[in-house]
Subunit: 248 residues, 2 copies
């Protein structure tokens, strides 16, 4: 597949460039099969509103479908037109001509998508289950047994309007505890506190309390674990264990 | 083991507090065996000089050994005195009374340790092997097939005097290419460029060029992979494959 750069974000051929046809000719000369066009609108993660995301989705689709059409007009077969990115997948209003949408975070949602307005935080479908193992009461800290090795170092919300630290804290039922976040993380420990830092605003979390942490970036957090434990809402009852495909 | 907070960094009992003896008494009353004292001088990562690190090492040792002595003076057995942190392990000049040093990055070194003056960058013994898969020549970018999923999101050097981006670039032989770093990373792609951003200062890296990337933080980077490939200096010859213990 020929990658095109639909938004100037990363890699690929510029949609209007001669490289597109040049590569297709080289592939044909080499008796290789051109399967299609692929792109990823990574800049959608920097959008400030859902209107901007919808516009980015049109730009992504138009660039990919336009390149496929150019190839076909020049006699090349181009069966696949593959686009990506979770924000554009949610807000696409026209995917005609597209044959594949590759969206990863789409499966679970995460806090970055929450900050973008793509999902509601309470609908995020993956969390890291931690236990309170200690306190630094004068600092307003509860310490849990999962730090950045459990959450990943991804701090995607640090560039958004609301910085969610290393994650938003929920009770075992998955209900968000208002303004309680993982304010900092060490390798194996997370620091749970009130967003304001005010020790008086931190609930009493006895040692052993189970807390769920919603991730900044589902891809990065899930990659730190080798399996999913599938639970009903509210429960510790594990109904299934799903192994993960690791790598990329 | 009773954790003590030797540097106000994270968790544990304050060395001078009554909690130390209180916990030891509770353990004895519960017929549990107190094995010893454990601490980790995490603040050593924020030191600005090797002199500061050496002082932190003494502080860590003195706090841990002092607590062990207090316990013994009050009739408790305290066979183990465990300290940690790679910087303090390197610059310790007195470990008398210590029975265990837990230092992780110590094994490989990394760029954060390089920035602290603990190791030389050319002595770092772990890297991520990547291939050049594309270019954005007008931006001065070479794109490699490893991004933050390969390097981790850890940007420990961003708080140091020299920000090494997502890693320092070496040739296949492990020789550092001056001022060529991974300036940015997407999930699966790394952006290789000159530190200055000047496109004219980037060597020609044809597609397929193999580049080794030295990590900011060995713990975080290694955790993104399930095995080590052990090679001789200079070679692609893999002499051994070491599976990793995952988790924490």
């Amino acid at each position: 597949m020929i990658e095109i750069d639909c938004d100037g974000h990363r890699s690929g051929v510029q949609p209007g460039s001669d490289d597109l046809l040049h590569i297709a000719k080289r592939l044909a000369a080499g008796k290789l099969t051109l399967k299609g066009i692929i792109t990823h609108a990574g800049n959608s993660y920097s959008c400030k509103s859902t209107e901007e995301i919808a516009a980015m989705s049109r730009q992504e689709r138009d660039a990919a479908v336009g390149c496929a059409q150019r190839l076909r007009q020049h006699g090349f077969s181009c069966p696949e037109v593959s686009v990506g990115s979770t924000p554009t997948a949610y807000f696409a209003d026209d995917l005609s001509g597209v044959t594949e949408v590759r969206a990863g975070v789409f499966v679970f949602g995460d806090l970055v998508m929450g900050g973008l307005g793509v999902v509601k935080p309470q609908d995020i479908a993956v969390s890291v289950l931690t236990s309170v193992v200690g306190h630094q009461k004068e600092k307003g800290w509860a310490i849990v047994d999962g730090g950045w090795m459990a959450m990943s170092r991804d701090r995607g919300t640090s560039r958004q309007r609301v910085d969610q630290g290393y994650g938003v804290v929920c009770n075992l039922d998955g209900e968000i505890l208002d303004d309680i976040i993982m304010v900092d993380a060490n390798q194996e420990h997370g620091v749970i506190a009130h967003r304001s830092g005010d020790p008086k605003k931190v609930p009493d979390f006895p040692v052993g309390t189970l807390l769920r942490i919603l991730p900044n970036h589902a891809c990065a957090t899930c990659a730190q674990h080798d399996r999913y434990h599938v639970v009903d809402s509210g429960g510790l009852q594990v109904n299934a264990v799903w192994p993960r495909f690791q790598g990329w």
